[in-house]
């Protein structure tokens, strides 16, 4: 028996209240939610944690001296420790809470890159990046005179690292790539990139939005300098998550947002700031959400990230096989050892919007569009793709529902 059996999907499904909803044109269809790469659904325990926080503990953190405030502060900081442990970070102070990957990349691009980049320096990205790991670097390059360079796409739909040595120079100061493509599913060999980046004195930021929810992550073993975490894609509440950074790098960084809670002493003309991570947490944070994220982390840890990965490999392999059988072109690597469960495809020249619309009437939720990766769409030669993405609550039956609904779309739009 394969290790995938370790995850009991029928049991997992019972933990997700939304899966009881009926949808579709007559509200009589089971919800087939295949868009977890956009955002995951939330288990009951996470939803309950939010309610319990507001019903029993709600207070602002790091300031009140009454017991509620102390409880809220302790829960918030315990959530930080939980998240740090989940990604193998030795020190909770190395995890900065914020709204997730977009905010994290912006924080590094602003607080670190702008500080170290000089004119003519280089930032190495890849052509498959999500806009959130591209646009902030465009800003940083424009502000500093640094130059953007790009790792190309290989023919197999993963990054082509054969020319990496030529792309990394002594001017390279930052390398920022996705750990797992939100379009192609391709996994990045992170340790190899980290070693190569460090060899030229650059730091490596990994966009972990798609990686952290789906695989065992160990920032120490990867030797990444920065890792972004989107809590809402890993069963946590929206706007939860944060940035992992190596201590010495976070300490070197400038604060991004100024304001309350991030300061030590404020004069009218100048201020001094708290230590990491708090110097990056200005204003009232997403307290309930980060506490909810810690519960999501516990939930995933109980399932076991190896079991999660095995489950997704099984369902992804099945989906790629079935989609290919019905004539869909599946982008990205087809070998599930080298990819995750975000499966983009092109089906019978039917526009992805039309596919998604038809599928919706059958209760099947997929993403259609450019997936915030317009440069990649141009490379793939399509205006958009349809994307089904899988998580712990998805079953093989749901792949069958997807395939059946695609047949309905073909009946309407087929030539």
């Amino acid at each position: 028996m394969s290790r995938a059996a370790a995850l009991d999907v029928e049991r997992v499904r019972k933990d997700f209240p939304i899966l009881e909803r009926r949808v579709g044109s007559n509200d009589d269809r089971s919800l087939v939610y295949l868009d977890s790469a956009a955002t995951s659904q939330k288990p009951r325990v996470v939803i309950d944690a939010l309610t319990e926080y507001y019903e029993r503990h709600n207070a602002n953190i790091h300031r009140g001296v009454y017991s509620l405030a102390e409880e809220a502060t302790a829960m918030y900081e315990a959530a930080r420790a939980k998240l740090a442990g989940f990604i193998g970070a030795p020190d909770p102070a190395c995890v900065v809470f914020n709204r997730g990957t977009t905010e994290s990349v912006n924080l590094v691009a602003y607080g670190y890159a702008r500080k170290v980049l000089r004119e003519g320096d280089e930032i190495l990205l890849s052509v498959i990046e999500h806009h959130s790991n591209l646009v902030p670097w465009q800003f940083a390059a424009e502000a500093t005179g640094a130059r953007l360079r790009f790792i190309p796409l290989g023919e197999d739909g993963s990054l082509d690292l054969t020319g990496l040595d030529g792309l990394l120079t002594d001017r390279t100061k930052v390398v920022a790539v996705t750990g797992m493509s939100n379009v192609l599913g391709a996994l990045t060999p992170i340790r190899r990139l980290a070693d190569a980046a460090h060899a030229v004195g650059a730091v490596l930021l990994v966009d972990g939005a798609q990686l952290v929810p789906h695989t065992k992550v160990d920032v120490d073993a990867f030797d990444v300098d920065f890792l972004t975490i989107s809590g809402h894609k890993m069963l946590g509440p929206t706007a939860s998550g944060g940035l992992y950074g190596k201590r010495e790098l976070l300490e070197r960084m400038d604060p991004f947002l100024g304001g309350g809670e991030m300061i030590m002493r404020v004069e009218l003309e100048t201020s001094t700031f708290k230590e990491i991570p708090w110097k990056f947490e200005a204003g009232t944070m997403n307290i309930a959400e980060e506490i909810g994220l810690a519960v999501a982390v516990d939930y995933l840890s109980d399932l076991g990230m190896e079991a999660v990965r095995e489950h997704e490999k099984e369902i992804t392999a099945y989906a790629i096989r079935r989609l290919t059988e019905i004539g869909a072109k599946v982008f990205g690597p087809h070998d599930v050892e080298r990819r995750g469960g975000a499966v983009s495809f092109w089906f019978k020249d039917i526009h992805p919007h039309d596919l998604a619309q038809v599928l919706d009437t059958f209760g099947v939720c997929i993403r259609a569009g450019h997936h915030c990766a317009q440069p990649l769409m141009r490379l793939l030669g399509v205006p958009a793709t349809a994307r089904a993405s899988f998580y712990v609550y998805n079953s093989l039956d749901e792949v069958d529902a997807l395939v059946a609904a695609l047949g309905e779309a073909e009946a309407i739009f087929g030539a």
């Binding site: 526009h351 919007h353 039309d354 619309q357 569009g369 769409m377 205006p383 309407i412 739009f413």
Partner: protein, 149 residues
Amino acid sequence: MALEELYKEVILDHYKSPRNKHELPSATATCTKNNPLCGDEITVEARVEDGRVAEVAFQGSGCSISQASASMMTEAVAGKDVRDAVALAGEFRSFMQGAAEPDEDAFGDLIALKGVAKYPVRIKCAVLAWDVLQDALAAGTEAAADVSR
């Protein structure tokens, strides 16, 4: 809502056999725009003569709604005064937003797009070609005014 209400036969017909989908070398007005939501891109070219849309064509790729709307649009505005064509674009937008009941005679096949109004995300697909037309005509009219000056 049932799929048939959205994907009416006439829409699928315009999608599968688009009218006036080609280059227009004699164009005096042209504009290209994209829908950032889905990456669809539409170019509209028109030959304007004496304040009248003498000929109009479109190119580009997109979903059935955007392509059918573009195709129907070219049929609806060909031969119209520029002013009337622009007015029709405005009426079409109101129609999509559910703000106005259309004049069935002026709208012709466009009536079939009524189902789109129930899908806010898809309204952008339906109005894209009209936005492009309006900008093309505005630019073309300015250019014509420059020449006559």
